[in-house]
């Protein structure tokens, strides 16, 4: 008979899924790879340099924070890789590399770690990092280059800024659709942030996340649906369908709806709450694009809704199984 003195005794359950936090984070990174590939094709290898710099920066700052404060080092959960890739994805490819590192430091140290680390940050670190950079370095954060321009790998390129499809679309008084065709927008052959240009590559990543059950449809669908409905019902110009599609495919909307708004820590945990949150993101995005001074509204829309997440969650808690209204304390046969 075997030695039974080493039997582990614990409270049930005694089995668990093989999913883990690290697996989920790596799945998100995998889902972002098609967009990175397109980005390298459109903007050259400098995209890769930007992304790698950002990932290393995020990992380094998280490690530095944990070591300095003598806390367990949490880099191995890989959530910093996701933040790193996403922050680089929402910057112009021509921005200097040191700017990426400043964004990383703000995202990881201020937004994520100071609030308690993974799962405790109430805002998406990558988006908050981008907002910080937009406020502090507005010129460098809008250095849009044309697609297929050769850029140096490490030194800051000297580029003349070109209009993005979205800025052409939302500039006040301009009711013309951009020059880029819908196909260009879907494939990503346009100017814009590093990882946001190809809607198709982002959707492919989103489908992978759905397949892996990392995300559900609630947030992306309610977000995109709201933007689609509002832009179709209140179009600029007289071609509502192509106006709507241009809005859906341009700017950071796909990146935001699929990868940013679905960030676990900063979005509601309840399904009903996720729908309200998605609709809110969509409405604010359209408001900023229509009426704001920025051409892009996705990042601020998501950040504003991040701040509402806790409240939304509180009011959308599911009704428990077998709930009986207090007045009918002596409930009969049926609920």
């Amino acid at each position: 008979m075997s030695d039974l003195t080493k039997l582990k005794v614990s409270s049930s359950p005694h089995i668990r899924t093989s999913d883990s936090t690290r697996q989920i984070m790596l799945d998100v990174v995998i889902a972002l790879m098609p967009s990175l590939a397109i980005s390298i094709f459109v903007f050259g290898l400098r995209s890769l340099t930007m992304v790698l710099t950002s990932v290393c920066g995020c990992a380094f700052f998280e490690w530095l924070y944990c070591r300095t404060l003598r806390k367990p080092v949490t880099v191995s959960d890989c959530s910093c890789i996701v933040t790193g890739v996403l922050l680089a994805f929402c910057m112009p490819v021509a921005a200097p590399l040191w700017l990426v590192l400043i964004g990383d430091a703000f995202a990881i140290i201020v937004v994520k770690m100071l609030y308690g680390g993974l799962g405790k940050n109430f805002m998406n670190p990558a988006l908050a990092g981008r907002a910080f950079l937009m406020a502090s370095f507005p010129v460098m954060m809008t250095l849009w280059t044309k697609a297929r321009t050769a850029l140096p790998l490490f030194v800051t390129p000297d580029v003349v800024t070109a209009a993005t499809p979205l800025s052409a679309l939302t500039e006040s008084g301009n009711f013309h659709l951009p020059d880029a065709t819908l196909l260009d927008l879907a494939l990503g052959m346009t100017g814009g942030c590093l990882g946001e240009t190809s809607a198709l590559a982002l959707i492919a990543g989103g489908l992978y996340l759905l397949y892996r059950r990392v995300i559900t449809l609630h947030i992306p669908l309610s977000y995109l649906g709201t933007v689609a409905a509002l832009t179709f019902l209140f179009p600029h110009g007289n071609a509502p369908a192509s106006f709507m599609l241009t809005h859906l495919l341009s700017g950071g909307l796909m990146l935001g709806a699929i990868f940013m708004a679905t960030d676990y820590s900063s979005s509601p945990v309840t399904k009903k709450g996720q729908i309200i949150y998605g609709v809110g993101c969509g409405a604010i995005t359209v408001f900023i694009r229509y009426f704001g001074s920025y051409s892009e509204g996705v990042s601020y829309a998501i950040l504003i809704m991040n701040a509402c997440t806790f409240l939304i969650e509180k009011v959308t808690m599911p009704t428990k199984f077998g709930y009986v209204k207090p007045v009918k304390a002596k409930g009969g046969d049926e609920k």
Partner: protein, 438 residues
Amino acid sequence: MAFTFKGGIHPDDGKRFTAAKQIELLNAPTHVVLPMTMHIGAPCAPLVKVGDHVCLGQKIADTEAPVSAPIHASVSGTVTEIAPKLHPNGSMVQCIVIENDFQDEPDPSIHALDPDTLTTDEMVAAIREAGIVGHGGAAFPTHTKILSALNKIDNILINGAECEPYITSDYRILLEYPWEVVGGAKILLRMFGLNEVKLGVEMNKQDAFPVLKEYLPQDESIKLCPLTTKYPQGAEKQLIYALTGREVPSGKLPADAGCAVFNVDTAAAIYRLFATGMPVIRRIVTVAGSAIANPKNLEVRVGTPIDQLIAACGGFSEPPNKLLMGGPMMGISLVSDEVPVIKGTNAILAFCKNECVTAKNPVCIRCGKCLAACPMRLAPTYIYNYALKRNVAELERYNTLDCIECGACTYVCPGKLPLVQGIRSGKQLVTDERRKRK
């Protein structure tokens, strides 16, 4: 179309190891250990002394308490010891030890009963005397359940969901003794004066459907209802919802939703009682898990020490890390293999590696998977956090006491938080506080 509930999880059901294994009769052991607590409710007091000769099926312990079930000798022989011994739940419980004389001489009082000539009260009394308890695992005394439901219900449900992974004992009963299950259901129908019973079986046990259909009565009084394969489909409240669309009111009994649920093996035990007069002395147990050399379904005497079941399955193939009584989702982990099989034992599982790793610094990443999995529609991560903070007011607000401890939240958690373990401590905090307030 299969019936189901909202939420739940899909763990690997692990039933392939024993699903095809016919029930094997394990020889009666040289001695049986019968704890005075094999059920939910008051413990029994011994009716025999050391040295007494007992017959097979003789009542050897009983109590006056309404929620309890008497205990019977599962072998004939001599009482050799009445002393506290290790119970599967880890505590020391008064046990009667009987040395087997291998005569299997039945108690003279045992005789078959005719359900058609007995009144409902007489039938309930017979079930009480036979010590029948819920065989699904919780071991709630069946006569208490029937008494609480008489004249209040319009639905009898037979639970053949067997949603716990690895366990195949109910499945084998459906395949090999379908007439016992159907016969038990007919007796329940007569007892309650109703004309329909629903028998819910999960779709992963479809092979049993044609076998069962052969025995179902022509008048369609027993309906076979397929259930979606999902954990915890066999939880009482979830089964009632799946089959009737009713939700048992929070804090109330199934009878308050007009339902009574009986496990398939409980129904079979009722049938056997009326057919032979024999009280509960046997049990069908699945022995499986990665550390068991040759997994099997065994028919054993209640009170058989479990090391004999494991030996009958070729012993351990590897040193076990965990030994469980019951399923991997809600079973209890044993401290030793020197505990007896009790009435509620449906499985003995042994795993070689720890399959439930809890992270050293578990972190909730707020993925919301626990909320989606919770069959009671609670917010496990919230309850867990408030339990850690010992915040009783918030624990009450988030309906901590409604948790059925199915463990679905803990299973799905990618952050490896000990959710249900924390919620259990939260429940304790709430009940302590309520008691203080009274």
